[in-house]
């Protein structure tokens, strides 16, 4: 469609202005504000014991939740695409739920199940395992919110490649595991990689659910996101900015990875 030049430029300006006001300028201001006091200050701020602990905790939770979710996500995607079953729509809807549910509700749900008075909480307490107000609970919350990512990225790829190759492998004598590891997995690896990147970003950025589930015991169950809130509420605005900047950098790295991987995964 040949849009005349003035209209084209007008639309462009309008769109860019909206993006600038909402996205670009605020992010720029955060970075400016953060480094306003000098790089040294920022460094000190993110290397306090609390910050360091928060960093490792965040990483620990992500490194448990994401691989678990990836494996189960691939299995789920295989189940959705390769098995014959009516009512897959129900499964699909359940998988989509974490996108649409408030993180606070997720936290509440986990407390109700695994808390001391919860459905399973009693059993865990009797065996000396603490879920809520401890790391396991936070891991569960993280898994919940990351659930859809790997499935939704792998599913279309699986659908697209079809199962003919897998059938051929079977006729050639390959076992189920061999077929999977040598035929299926290589075909879906970029879909998996992309899903993993999205999950990691989500895991690191999770706030609402872990907020409810962690009990916010400073220095013990504060993740990086909880640290940001904590600092802000305690009027350490500069400290909050510093931690935010760190998280923003991780987010930008995520974007870069997404950019790299997207064309590869779309080629299937």
């Amino acid at each position: 469609m040949v849009v005349d030049r003035r209209a084209r430029i007008g639309l462009r300006v309008l769109a860019l202005a909206y993006l600038a006001a909402l996205l670009l300028v605020p992010v720029a201001v955060v970075f400016y504000r953060t480094f306003e006091h000098g790089f040294g200050f920022v460094w000190d701020s993110i290397t306090t014991p609390a910050a360091v602990h928060a960093f490792w905790l965040t990483l620990e939770i992500a490194l448990i939740a994401v691989p678990l979710n990836t494996v189960l996500g691939v299995i789920t995607a295989m189940a959705l695409v390769r098995s014959r079953l009516r009512g897959k729509v129900v499964l699909q809807t359940i998988i989509d739920l974490p996108f649409a549910i408030s993180p606070v509700v997720i936290g509440l749900a986990l407390v109700l199940v695994y808390g001391r008075n919860g459905w399973f909480g009693g059993w865990f307490a009797d065996h000396g395992i603490q879920i809520i107000f401890a790391v396991p609970g936070m891991v569960l919350a993280t898994i919940f919110v990351c659930l859809p990512f790997v499935v939704r990225e792998v599913e279309p790829v699986l659908r697209e490649i079809g199962d003919e190759q897998e059938q051929a492998a079977a006729t050639l004598g390959a076992s189920r595991w061999q077929t999977f590891s040598r035929i299926t997995l290589p075909a879906i690896r970029y879909g998996i990689a992309y899903g993993v990147v999205l999950s990691m970003a989500r895991a690191i950025g999770e706030f609402g659910a872990v907020s409810v589930v962690s009990g916010k015991i400073a220095g013990e169950t504060d993740t990086l996101t909880l640290l940001v809130e904590n600092r802000y509420q305690n009027f350490d605005v500069a400290g909050a900015y510093a931690a935010s900047a760190l998280l923003a950098l991780i987010a930008l790295a995520t974007l870069l990875l997404m950019l790299r991987l997207r064309p590869r995964k779309d080629q299937a």
Binding site: L97, V104, L110, L112, F144, V212
Partner: protein, 258 residues
């Protein structure tokens, strides 16, 4: 076998916890459920959440379509960069999103405006986190759109505006709607980006998720669960709507022949 594992996984992680919420909400009987849900503060928070979410979905439906158009049809330096940036709200932690908006539009912001503890803060936070939904939903459809339809319309005498209105837009509507629905679903539950900047004043700037959080902290668990069930139902309805939208817009194709 994989189906069995998948079902077990989904049940343990998702279904059982959600079932617990539903169960808890009726723990005090239906009367207690009703009281919790019709509590004035609860209703205020739900109403605020709904109006904000619908508003944001509508605004970003328009803005998102505009942005998608410019990204697909226009050429300018930095287009790739801007395109990548659209995903930032997906990648950025919500709490950081809140702080980011605060940096520009909060106290000590360079512009001199301060939206803290106002409804504008909620609006902006929600616009931020829901921005990518419509854009990413519309972009692929726009890219696949048969340009020849537009050329045909032009050859028949239609102006650019008419071509957009009568040819392009109708073909984008399903994508815009599903993107807007996703945005709505996300906005309804949003917590992290709002909690720092909205002030959370009951009846004024307290959204449903913040209200629920407050109930949990006050150990009013049944009340929290009850309002949560309302949000859950809303989410479910929207999800089902989106799925069925995906099924519309697929016409059959007659075989080529005569």
């Amino acid at each position: 076998m994989s189906l069995g594992i998948a079902t077990l996984w989904l049940s343990v992680i998702v279904l059982i916890p959600l079932a617990a919420v539903v169960a808890k909400s009726t723990d005090g009987g239906l009367g207690a459920f009703w009281d919790a849900v019709t509590n004035r503060q609860a209703i205020a928070s739900l109403r605020l959440t709904l109006t904000m979410s619908i508003g944001v979905a509508a605004i970003n439906a328009a803005a998102g379509t505009l942005v998608a158009w410019v990204l697909v049809r226009d050429r300018f330096r930095g287009r790739g960069f801007i395109n990548a940036l659209i995903d930032l709200p997906f990648a950025l932690p919500t709490i950081v999103a809140g702080i980011t908006l605060l940096a520009l539009y909060g106290p000590n912001g360079p512009l001199g405006v301060n939206v803290v503890a106002t409804r504008w803060a909620i609006l902006m936070a929600l616009l931020f986190v829901t921005l990518p939904f419509v854009v990413r939903s519309v972009q692929p459809v726009l890219m696949e759109l048969d340009r020849e339809m537009e050329e045909a319309a032009v050859s028949l005498g239609a102006s650019s505006a008419t071509v957009f209105r009568r040819i392009v837009l109708p073909n984008l509507v399903p994508a815009i709607l599903s993107g807007a629905a996703l945005a709505f679903a996300r906005a309804v539950g949003e917590f992290g980006s709002i909690v720092l900047i909205a002030g959370n004043i009951p009846f004024k700037t307290e959204v449903a998720s913040v209200f629920i959080f407050g109930r949990i902290e006050s150990d009013a668990v049944i009340s929290a669960a009850a309002v949560s069930v309302v949000l859950l139902l809303l989410s479910l309805v929207v999800l089902v709507a989106i799925r069925s939208l995906g099924r519309l817009g697929h016409g059959g194709d007659a075989a080529d022949g005569r």
